[in-house]
């Protein structure tokens, strides 16, 4: 740095600058040759092309060119008219500033934006040359820990926790959780009720992480670019053969040319908006290679109709709960700072309501929360589990199980409120001071409004839960300091994804308001989030957009953009397709949705329509990953859509040949994050789950080493997009002339890491554990200041300043600043919406026991929660070891079937025995599963996870039973409420019968 300062000072005068430039450019030539001599891999790269590269000043007053031939570089001063590519600078001092290490990325970005640096010549050559220069540092980098006998230990990160990766001869031997050593800091300690609690010095991993080796080396990996055998971009496309025909291997060049040409063709033929693109959100892990980074940078520069996501795992919290207490930045789920400590110290009872953190690992949180729940158990804190399924958290902690009929939980919630009101078991003072509209709701609960008191007996008819149990629960809860774990992370999955999910989630907030949310021992959470780790140490989460350049659709603008300046990217297409309506958009040419916009409560009131005025209809679909058939409702729709003539071209960029991949015309093989560079943190999403790393016992920031070379011809997403970008004229704009490795370094430098560890050490060790803060500096407990009437003091800029009605930080995000039993936002938006009244009411499910005709035909309630062993489709199928877990799939006659769980009484009625094959069906389709006959589901309920990665129709795709296990074929595509973009996959009526393989 000092040297750089001297050089830059010298370069202030034109003469001095030229002198410096002369020196720098001379060194570059000798360095290229030196690296080639020393590193065979560099030599190999250098030998790929024979070109003449010119670096010069724009006025030709100085220059040096490099003749690269047969892996050698010969450089000479001067300007060569025959140069293949020319990199030019406006003047010598800029050139020196940009070229002399260490790089100043702000200066480089500024120069690029003001065209003070330019590249001329074929894009692919300038990209190649710049990449070569960037590679000079990477090639000489020493990384990982040498364990002797040819074994190296690298690090990587996954959506189920960080790992050590043992590698020998370019082959992964094993993946293990990270065990800290003496250099790592001591973990936090909490003293509670006479005991001291402190987590072990290691990380945990989720099952799908431990199966990654089988997935990396899966026979279902796509190793080469492929083309559907009967697809000809210049002739017959045979669209009806999608999902049926085989593929042939083609070269990367051919595949990339076809895709680039199709992009150009549809844009030119139809106009902007004709390219639809969407991704599954779980393409492994990493801040740079993940879906909100490399992918967006590419598509923004292409111009595309994005697939707009619904708040998929949050639904009821987002469309419902938010109106009562804000929390829009958390998609309507509550913040959870400091709750682990508060819960350990002060709470007497935890009610887990539709909450199974042992199955879903919160989200991305591996088993970090397990030990904390064990501490609660050791302290004798009572636990109650409300779930139609005797879930894994209930099984481990063995509390009381209450199983309401699916989609009726809100009736039980209202009856609890009834008991509290009639028996005086709630905090009247808190309700008086901190809430708004209680009396109106109280009238409804007591039946003064509609003549129906919401008694425990009334709810029994809806939920099937005995009135006495609900009364007992209400009394237990009303007399003890209680934490409510509603949802697996808090506000995640389960009941919020059913036909009454909005009303249920709303009631969860109302119940907590009655008990005094924020009082010591009274809060949201099931120990899954809210550890006392350091929230002030800056390292971005993946939703902060990485290298996307997109400040509109990621959280890049909040912190990372100023720390890691980069070329901004903007999608110019103001057209969206709601994810849940992709099939309708394609097949019927029409769709509408509401925004998932976390900035403010009112963000969700905005409606959008497809097609947008003046835009072209979608003609090409660029899909990234393959998961929709297993994860989206009524998914035969998606299958049929692929066979529509309206989709002229489908390309899928995917790691594995999964259920949805086989509907593409061209398949581009992406590699896993073990085969490329990346950088990230354990369970850090940022953005919509701000500070989500408080699920972890330690903040662990990980260098995702490139552990092995990409398998076959698979390549990183970054590489694939860069290659396409070259063909579309923005190659250098895409990479900014640097490699993935250098982007990692750039992100490292943008974080707080350089203050505590050098890049060299970080690369070598592979991880850094952020020391916990002093006890006095721990984040305060969420909602405590609200309860005490103080300004908000938890460490987040949420809500945004403008969203406070009075002073900033005073009160909540609602109009009154209070928890609202009657919602001001809904009064403003649509006070008469029968589906979402201004206060929460019991609205029977539109698919359930009140839809009598349907219920007679299909008398079983199917619930489809987030899966336990896989992460949605990740880890399922693909000959993953998870298939051999007998509670994930079962192997019958050599075929691995998805499981449906059924009560012995229902099974007996249908002549079904354990492990029989059954057909699960309704009017939407049918799925073949293996039956688990179990008491873990009550009579009348069947349980099967969503997230099958296998789609394997026995006949015509989209119209025949699926043997793969995509139970979402059966779930309704109707939104929870009309004025939303939501799904109700846990409200589904089916029938089950024995199935004989034909």
């Amino acid at each position: 740095m000092i040297l750089k300062n001297i050089i830059c000072r010298l370069a202030r005068s034109e003469r001095g600058a030229k002198l410096c430039l002369k020196f720098i450019l001379w060194v570059l030539g000798t360095q290229l040759n030196y690296k080639a001599r020393k590193y065979p891999r560099f030599k190999e790269r250098l030998s790929e092309k024979d070109i003449i590269a010119q670096i010069k000043l724009r006025d030709n007053s100085y220059g040096r060119y490099y003749v690269i031939q047969k892996g050698k570089v010969f450089s000479k001063e001067g300007v060569n008219a025959l140069a293949d590519i020319v990199i030019s600078f406006d003047n010598a001092s800029i050139a020196v500033e940009l070229l002399f290490p260490p790089k100043n990325y702000l200066a480089i970005t500024n120069a690029m934006k003001s065209f003070q640096i330019r590249a001329e010549g074929p894009e692919h050559l300038s990209c190649w040359f710049m990449d070569l220069i960037s590679y000079m540092e990477e090639v000489s980098t020493v990384y990982g820990t040498d364990l002797g006998r040819g074994v190296k230990r690298y690090t990587s990160n996954t959506n189920g926790g960080p790992v050590f990766v043992y590698v020998k001869e370019d082959k992964i031997l094993r993946l293990t959780p990270i065990e800290f050593d003496k250099n790592d800091p001591e973990p936090w300690k909490i003293e509670a009720r006479g005991k001291i609690f402190s987590p072990p010095k290691k990380t945990t991993v989720a099952p799908y992480t431990l199966t990654l080796k089988s997935m990396i080396y899966s026979p279902h990996r796509i190793l080469y670019p492929m083309k559907r055998i009967d697809f000809d971009p210049n002739g017959e496309r045979n669209i009806e053969k999608r999902g049926i025909s085989e593929y042939v291997r083609i070269s990367w060049d051919e595949a990339l040319d076809i895709v680039a040409n199709e992009i150009k063709r549809v844009k030119k033929t139809y106009g902007p908006g004709s390219i639809l693109h969407g991704s599954g959100s779980h393409h492994l892990w990493g801040n740079l290679g993940y879906w909100l980074s490399a992918r967006l940078r590419f598509f923004n520069n292409v111009g595309f109709t994005p697939v707009a996501h619904n708040p998929d795992s949050w639904e009821g919290w987002y469309w419902g709960a938010m109106h009562h207490y804000g929390q829009s930045m958390h998609l309507g789920a509550p913040e959870t700072y400091g709750t682990v400590e508060d819960c350990l110290k002060n709470c007497d009872l935890v009610v887990f309501w539709s909450s199974d953190p042992e199955a879903t690992n919160g989200v991305y949180g591996a088993f970090e929360g397990t030990i904390r729940r064990q501490w609660l158990k050791d302290l004798g804190v009572k636990m109650v589990f409300i779930d139609p399924f005797y879930n894994h958290t209930a099984a481990l902690f063995r509390g009381k199980w209450i199983a309401p009929r699916p989609s009726t939980g809100n009736a039980m919630a209202l009856a609890i409120a009834y008991v509290w009101i009639t028996e005086g078991l709630y905090d009247k003072e808190y309700v008086e001071k901190n809430t708004y509209g209680f009396e109106e709701w109280e009238n409804y609960i007591l039946g003064k409004e509609d003549g129906i008191p919401k008694t425990p007996e009334w709810q029994e008819k809806e939920t099937g839960v005995p009135a006495k149990d609900v009364r007992a629960l209400a009394r237990l809860w009303g007399t003890r300091k209680t934490y409510l774990a509603a949802g697996g992370l808090v506000g995640f999955g389960g009941a919020c994804r059913d036909a009454t999910g909005t009303e249920w989630a709303r009631s969860m907030v109302c119940l907590m308001a009655m008990q005094g949310l924020g009082k010591p021992g009274v809060n949201f959470g099931g120990m899954q989030q809210g550890t006392p780790v350091d929230t002030s140490f800056y390292f971005p989460g993946y939703a902060e957009g990485g290298l996307s350049g997109d400040t509109a659709n990621t959280a890049l603008g909040v912190n990372l953009y100023v720390r890691m300046p980069q070329l901004p990217t903007v999608n110019t297409v103001y057209q969206l397709v709601p994810r849940l309506r992709i099939p309708e958009a394609i097949m019927k040419g029409k769709a509408e949705g509401y925004f998932t916009d976390a900035k403010t409560i009112e963000g969700q009131f905005r409606k959008f329509e497809y097609p947008a005025p003046g835009y072209a209809p979608v003609r090409m679909y660029y899909k990234y990953g393959g998961s929709h058939i297993g994860t989206m409702p009524e998914s035969n729709r998606y299958v049929k859509m692929y066979r529509s003539e309206n989709l002229e071209f489908v390309v899928n960029q995917s790691i594995w040949f999964e259920g949805e991949t086989k509907f593409a015309d061209i398949i581009l093989p992406a590699c896993t994050n073990f085969e490329r560079w990346d950088i990230s943190e354990f369970a850090n999403c940022g953005g919509y789950i701000q500070h989500s790393f408080t699920q972890c016992n330690h903040r662990v920031i990980v260098m995702q080493h490139k552990c092995i070379e990409p398998l076959g011809e698979s390549r990183s997403d970054f590489w694939i997009f860069a290659q396409l970008a070259q063909r579309l004229g923005f190659g250098l704009m895409y990479t900014e002339g640097i490699s993935e490795f250098e982007w990692c370094k750039r992100l490292f430098e943008a974080s707080d890491l350089p203050k505590v560890i050098s890049w060299k050490d970080f690369l070598k060790r592979g991880y850094y554990v952020v020391p916990p803060p002093k006890e006095e500096l721990r984040a305060p407990v969420s909602f405590r200041s609200f309860y005490e009437g103080r300004p908000k003091d938890t460490p987040e800029i949420a809500p945004l300043p403008a969203d406070y009605s009075e002073e900033v930080f005073k009160g909540l995000q609602t109009q009154t600043g209070k928890i609202e039993f009657v919602c001001s936002s809904l009064k403003r938006f649509d006070p008469n919406d029968p589906e979402r009244p201004v206060m929460t009411k019991y609205i029977p499910a539109w698919e359930g026991h009140h839809t009598e005709e349907l219920y007679r035909k299909y008398p079983l309630f199917l619930i489809t929660p987030h899966p336990r062993y896989s992460f949605h489709t990740m880890g399922d199928g693909k000959e993953s070891w998870i298939n051999d877990i007998k509670d994930h799939r079962v192997c019958i006659n050599g075929y691995y079937y998805w499981i449906i769980r059924i009560n012995p009484k229902d099974a007996e009625k249908r002549g079904i025995k354990n492990l029989d094959l059954v057909k699960v069906f309704n009017d939407r389709g049918s799925v073949i599963c293996a039956a688990h006959v179990t008491e873990r589901v009550p009579p009348g309920v069947v349980h099967s996870y969503e997230g099958s990665a296998v789609y394997d129709p026995v006949g015509v795709p989209g119209e025949s039973p699926d043997r793969g296990g995509c139970v979402n074929i059966l779930t309704p595509s109707r939104p929870i409420i009309k004025k939303s973009h939501s799904m109700a996959v846990n409200s589904c009526l089916v029938e089950v019968e024995k199935w004989e393989e034909p």
């Binding site: 031997l173 094993r174 993946l175 293990t176 959780p177 065990e179 945990t204 991993v205 099952p207 431990l210 199966t211 080796k213 089988s214 080396y217 042992e358 591996a366 088993f367 397990t370 030990i371 064990q374 009572k382 109650v384 005797y390 894994h392 099984a395 481990l396 063995r398 509390g399 009381k400 199980w401 209450i402 199983a403 005995p466 009135a467 006495k468 149990d469 009364r471 007992a472 629960l473 009394r475 237990l476 336990r868 062993y869 000959e879 070891w881 998870i882 298939n883 051999d884 877990i885 509670d887 192997c891 009560n903 179990t934 008491e935 873990r936 589901v937 009550p938 009579p939």
Partner: protein, 217 residues
Amino acid sequence: MKGWYFIIDAEKCENCHNCFLACKDEHVNNDWTPITKPMAKKGRSWIEIKGRERGQYPFIDVCYLPVPCMHCDNAPCIRVAKNGAVYKRKDGIVIIDPSLSKEQKELVEACPYNAITWNEELKIPQKCTFCAHLLDEGWKTTRCVQACPTGALSIYYAEEAEIKEKAQTEGLQNYKANLNSKPRVFYKNLHLFTKNFLGGSLFTIRGGIEECLEADA
């Protein structure tokens, strides 16, 4: 002489299968000869999670029992094996020699705990090795123990007298102790798996309304 033991808490096992997967991760595609050859790509792992449901909706209990090889001190498989294909190490670990055991399929049946698997491709019987290849390299733990998030699994290096005393004071038991094979795997809370379960709720009728007396099962 000191040797290795497993101590497994049946109450803490949550059926997550991390142990099962970690064992696969260690052994599929990796050759740790002379301790063992690669595990078959598909099928069961060398630690199995047995499950048992007790009771009926709404009063049920579910218990899981992780079952690796018991590394018995009086091992039936050693007796049945030909050419000394199965042997006990000084540290108590029972090993099936991957070359001497070739074609000895009868070993699968010899184990009363069903801990021995048959590798059809290599034609050898295989089972849990207590990760002996790792312990020999200086590892402090086995792969399954390392991956277990709940602390249900642990290993213990001790004299026989020590483990006996520990078993006594902590109520540790062998699974199927009546087989007399002297397993080196000791279980805590084994009763959850082997005994019956009684659940219910107490209520009374007060003023014509059913009222619970105690909210617990």
